[in-house]
Structures are given as structure tokens and as C-alpha cells.
């Protein structure tokens, strides 16, 4: 269990400043270090709990599960381990919820499930999240936390980025507002698809955000790499996202946005 999720012990250590903290205190602070402000990663369940109206979340499509479509070495074992670790069947938890009583369609990625990688199940859940937004005429909110496409599914995984992009396109056609939230990390295939083409893009502070693995980018580079390269702050500076939102302000920010952008849906 991660520091922000309500660690089992009395004490825990900040992953960034290494300060020893009371586990309960960090939990109450939504996983944000009271000393340095570091945003620890959250599980999908905790993210939903701290973001949406209490008790409003109804999980859907929980019975989707990954198979091993190209019989990739060790994929089945990795899936089983990730299931045991997270108690979920894949990295995306999706369903419907409410924000200040406004119904929304949501998908949240759990980085702990194979790095939140986008495979057939994750993409299908995200696409159904967009489709539910379309059917129910509600805004769509997607929280990303992913290293990218799930290479263990080979070309299937590359096609998933086209598939989620197509779903965004349909929502756009029907004026369904879509808010994308980057959390640490939002990378590669996920960044190069639905995550980057939302009506509004928010990010948690200091989240890792980038297309290529940092190592690849730096290798490819002749000139100096900026200190904040591939962070939320870097992409914000370059105009790729709209706001950096600290975790405790995320819920009120989302409420304002769905009220403003989704006004036409409520008549």
C-alpha cells in the first residue's frame, strides 16, 4: 500500500523529501506531503473517493479482463501478479459518479496495475466511458496514470490509441464535454491519444508527462535538456495543458468546469 492510500503502519516516509510522517496525517492530506507538497500516487479507489461525491460512484464494466492475445512471454504471469497486487482485473476503473450532484462518466487509471499501461481492456473501458457520456449526455472525466501502451499486446495495443481517440472524436461531435487529468505519470501512447485532445486538460503538480522515455529523449538530444523536462510544469509552459491543479483543489476545479461546460446538457 502506498503512503497516500492509508498505509498500514503508524509512520510512513515521504517519497520525495524522505521526511517521516504520520500515516494518518498523510492519508488525511490526500497523499500530499505536508512538508514538501509531493503528490504521492493514489490507487484508483482512493482517487475516486477523494474526487467525487461520497457514495456516488458506481463501477461498471468491472468484469472485463485482459487475455494474452499474442501469447507474449510472461504476460499471463504479470497479469496474475497485478491482479493480486491491486485486487482489480485491469488498470482502469470506470463507471458513473457525481460532482456536486452533476452526473459524470469517469475512468481512472491505477498505475499499480502494470504501470497503468493501455491494453485492450483499459482502452475498451475508456471507450465505454466516452460512450456512456454520449448516451447519458453527461461530461466525461478521465484520470491518466500510465507509462504508455501495453507492449505485451503487440500491435493490438498500438491500435488502442486510435480507438480511444475515435471515441473522443464522437463526444466532440455531440458536444459532450471531456476533461482529461494527468497524474504521475502520463506518458507515451496514452499521452499521444485521448489524454491530449480533451476540451480541458489539467495536471497534478510535478507529474511526469512526456512522449518518449526520458532516456530516449535525452539520448536523441544534442542541446541541453531543461531541468523541468517532461513534467507537468514543462508542458504547461509550452501551452499543452490548461492548468496545474494541486490535489486538494481538484474536486472544486472539476465541479466548476462541469457546471460551466455541461450547462447545455442539463437544459
Amino acid at each position: 500500500m502506498r503512503p497516500g492510500d492509508g498505509a498500514s503502519g503508524v509512520f510512513c516516509q515521504c517519497a520525495e523529501c524522505k521526511k517521516i510522517l504520520l500515516a494518518g496525517e498523510l492519508f488525511e492530506a490526500l497523499g500530499v506531503c505536508p512538508n514538501c507538497g509531493h503528490h504521492h500516487r493514489l490507487s484508483a479507489a482512493r482517487r475516486i473517493e477523494v474526487t467525487f461525491d461520497p457514495g456516488s460512484f458506481e463501477e461498471l464494466d468491472a468484469d472485463l479482463r485482459s487475455i494474452d492475445p499474442i501469447e507474449f512471454p510472461e504476460y499471463s504471469e504479470k497479469l496474475r501478479k497485478a491482479e493480486a497486487k491491486t485486487g482489480s482485473r485491469d488498470g482502469v476503473v470506470s463507471g458513473v459518479a457525481a460532482l456536486d450532484e452533476i452526473p459524470v462518466s469517469v475512468a481512472v487509471t491505477d498505475f499499480d496495475f502494470m504501470g497503468g499501461s493501455l491494453g485492450s481492456v483499459a482502452a475498451e473501458k475508456i471507450v465505454r466511458t466516452f460512450e456512456r457520456g454520449l448516451e447519458r449526455k453527461t461530461p466525461v472525466i478521465v484520470f491518466s496514470a500510465s507509462g504508455g501502451a501495453r507492449m505485451q499486446e503487440g500491435l493490438f495495443s498500438l491500435m488502442q490509441i486510435a480507438k480511444t481517440t475515435a471515441a473522443v472524436q464522437r463526444c466532440r461531435d455531440q458536444a459532450i464535454p471531456y476533461i482529461s487529468v494527468f497524474t504521475d505519470p502520463t506518458m507515451a501512447g496514452v499521452l499521444a491519444s485521448h489524454a491530449s485532445i480533451a476540451d480541458v486538460i489539467l495536471s497534478e503538480p510535478k507529474a511526469l508527462v512526456g512522449f518518449a522515455g526520458a532516456r530516449v529523449s535525452k539520448q536523441a538530444q544534442v542541446s541541453k535538456v531543461p531541468d523541468n523536462f517532461q513534467t507537468a510544469e514543462f508542458v504547461f509552459e509550452h501551452g499543452m495543458i490548461d492548468r496545474i491543479v494541486p490535489r486538494k483543489e481538484m474536486r472544486p476545479t472539476l465541479i466548476r468546469l462541469v457546471r460551466a461546460l455541461g450547462g447545455h446538457l442539463r437544459g
Partner: protein
């Protein structure tokens, strides 16, 4: 297993070299010697062709990687210049700059106006640098989007030629939003109400490739590859050893044959004997025939149907279980 293209083609190059020497000897030989030499030439040719048959009938995934990257294969502009008439390159992204790793413009195919877009690699050091090794920056994808939009407005079919190791991974590209550019280009392709055909003729390298390959028909050359990650990169992540590319290539199932079997592409274009690089005009002819056939088939549908078909096709991609395990 051959690690490099040189190693892989070495026996063939040796046969070719021997054949060249025999031909040279025959050219200067006295008439009585010439008959004997010509017999040996015919024998050598047969041996060489049998060798090609054997090599190319059982190319493994890694050999396909080597062949797909071979610099003697036709590149996108070779196909464009040979198969289309009156190609006029249009190069502005209207945002930042010209990108030479993606080329595009209007042309005629069988006397019908079409929009053509493709990745372009270079063959020597200067060309490679100019083309950035076929790795497009955001500008390339934004130029492609402009051309897609224009094709849609003027009801022109779109043909794209895919051949890139990856999108450009540098700091510049990150600064100008390479991820957004790729995603937006795909999104634009889903909007199109005209026929779209993509030909993956060399390397279909991950996001860089799919960024211009959201098509009604995706065709692959027989020895082309299409992969979510370069095999060397996959090996580096999985086994911390980029030298295990051959194993990763096998695991990723990046061949045209696998892609067709999984229903992720629509057709395979057979290459000439011994690969496209051994007979570029033959490869270009085969691509031309396939394009003509697929464009004719798609011509029967109206714009709404074409858009719906493209959506339905990608919507259905993915394999998973549902319900109780």
C-alpha cells in the same frame, strides 16, 4: 541469427559478386570460352535464385525487421513519383516550420485527384539528416492534418505511405507537443468523409506510424513491419538488453502476416522475388495495383458510410474477456 542487414545479405552479395565476375569474364572471353562461361553463369543464377527462394520463403520476424529497414527498398517518394501524376508537394504546417520527414501534397491517381501523405527517409548522410531519419516532429503531423482537412473539403481520397522508425523523440518535439500532434492527426482522420487507404511499406513504427494510418483500408507490404515499440526498445525494457531485438521481434509479432491474422490490417501486398529492394519497379507496380483495387471498392460508399466504417473498424480492435473468468 543475423544481427545486421550486412550479415543477413552477405551470402547473397557474395553470390552476386561471383556472378558479376563471371559476366565480366564472359564479356571479354573468346567465343570458344564464352559458351562454357555462360553455362556457369546460368548455374550461378539458378543457385542464387534458389537461395533467395529459401531465404525469403521463411523470413523470421527479425529478418523482416532487417528487410523492412533496407535502404534499397522504395521509399514513399519513390511510390508517389511513380504511381501518381502531377504530384505537387505542399509543405506548410502554418504553425511553426517545414518538416521533411513527412511529405504530402495533391496528385492524380488514374486521372482522379487525390491527397497523398507519407513519411520519407533518406539514403545518404545528408538526406538522412534532412529527413530526420523519417522521424517526424509535430510540424509533420500538423501539416498532414491540414492536408487531410483539405482533402475532406474538396472530396479527395487520401492515400498515406507509412515508413518511420518512430516519431521524433527529442526535446524540441516534446516542447511543441508531439503527443498532441499525433493524437490530433488521428482524430482528424476519424472525421474524414472520403476514402482513406494507408500503405505500410517499410517500418510502421508505433505512434509515429498510426498518426497517419487511420484508414478504411490498411495495407502492408509482405515484408513490412508494424509494431507498438521498436524490438530493440522492447528488449531494453523487458530484458535490459537491446541486443535481444531478435527475440523481442518474435514476441511482438510485428509481421504483416500476424497483423492480417489478428484482423488489424486489411490486405498484404506481395513483394517481388527476393523483396522490394531487389526489384523496386516490381514492388511499385504491386502497390499501384492494390491501391487501384481498394480505392475502386471504397468509391462505392458515400462519405457518411466511409466515416462510420473507419470508426467501426477501429472500435472493434482489441481482445479481452468479459463476464466471469
Amino acid at each position: 541469427m543475423a544481427k545486421t542487414w550486412k550479415e543477413w545479405e552477405k551470402p547473397l552479395l557474395e553470390l552476386d559478386e561471383a556472378l558479376g565476375k563471371l559476366r565480366e569474364l564472359a564479356r571479354v572471353a573468346t567465343p570458344d570460352r564464352r559458351a562454357e562461361l555462360e553455362r556457369r553463369i546460368a548455374e550461378s543464377e539458378q543457385r542464387r535464385n534458389r537461395y533467395i527462394d529459401v531465404m525469403y520463403s521463411r523470413l523470421g520476424p527479425w529478418e523482416k525487421v532487417l528487410v523492412a529497414r533496407a535502404e534499397k527498398r522504395p521509399y514513399s517518394l519513390d511510390y508517389i513519383n511513380a504511381l501518381f501524376t502531377e504530384f505537387i508537394e505542399l509543405d506548410g504546417d502554418r504553425r511553426y516550420g517545414a518538416d521533411h520527414a513527412i511529405v504530402g501534397g495533391v496528385a492524380f491517381f488514374d486521372e482522379r485527384p487525390v491527397m497523398v501523405v507519407g513519411h520519407q527517409k533518406g539514403r545518404n548522410i545528408q538526406e538522412r539528416q534532412y529527413r530526420n531519419f523519417g522521424m517526424a516532429k509535430p510540424e509533420g503531423y500538423r501539416k498532414a492534418m491540414r492536408l487531410f482537412d483539405m482533402a475532406n473539403r474538396f472530396r479527395m481520397p487520401v492515400v498515406t505511405f507509412v515508413d518511420t522508425p518512430a516519431a521524433d523523440p527529442g526535446v524540441e518535439s516534446e516542447s511543441r507537443g508531439i503527443s498532441e500532434a499525433i493524437a490530433a492527426a488521428m482524430q482528424r482522420m476519424f472525421e474524414l468523409k472520403v476514402p482513406v487507404v494507408s500503405v505500410v511499406h517499410g517500418e510502421g513504427g508505433s505512434g509515429g506510424a498510426i498518426g497517419i494510418a487511420v484508414a478504411n483500408r490498411v495495407l502492408m507490404l509482405e515484408h513490412a513491419i508494424y509494431s507498438v515499440i521498436p524490438p530493440e526498445g522492447c528488449a531494453a525494457i523487458l530484458w535490459r538488453d537491446p541486443d535481444r531485438g531478435p527475440q523481442a521481434a518474435a514476441a511482438l509479432r510485428l509481421t504483416a502476416q500476424s497483423a492480417l491474422e489478428y484482423g488489424l490490417i486489411d490486405d498484404i501486398i506481395l513483394e517481388p522475388h527476393g523483396g522490394a529492394h531487389r526489384d523496386p519497379p516490381g514492388a511499385i507496380r504491386a502497390v499501384g495495383e492494390a491501391l487501384a483495387r481498394h480505392l475502386a471498392e471504397l468509391g462505392a460508399f458515400d462519405g457518411e458510410a466511409l466515416q462510420a466504417d473507419r470508426y467501426a473498424k477501429f472500435r472493434a480492435m482489441g481482445r479481452f474477456g468479459e463476464g466471469a473468468a
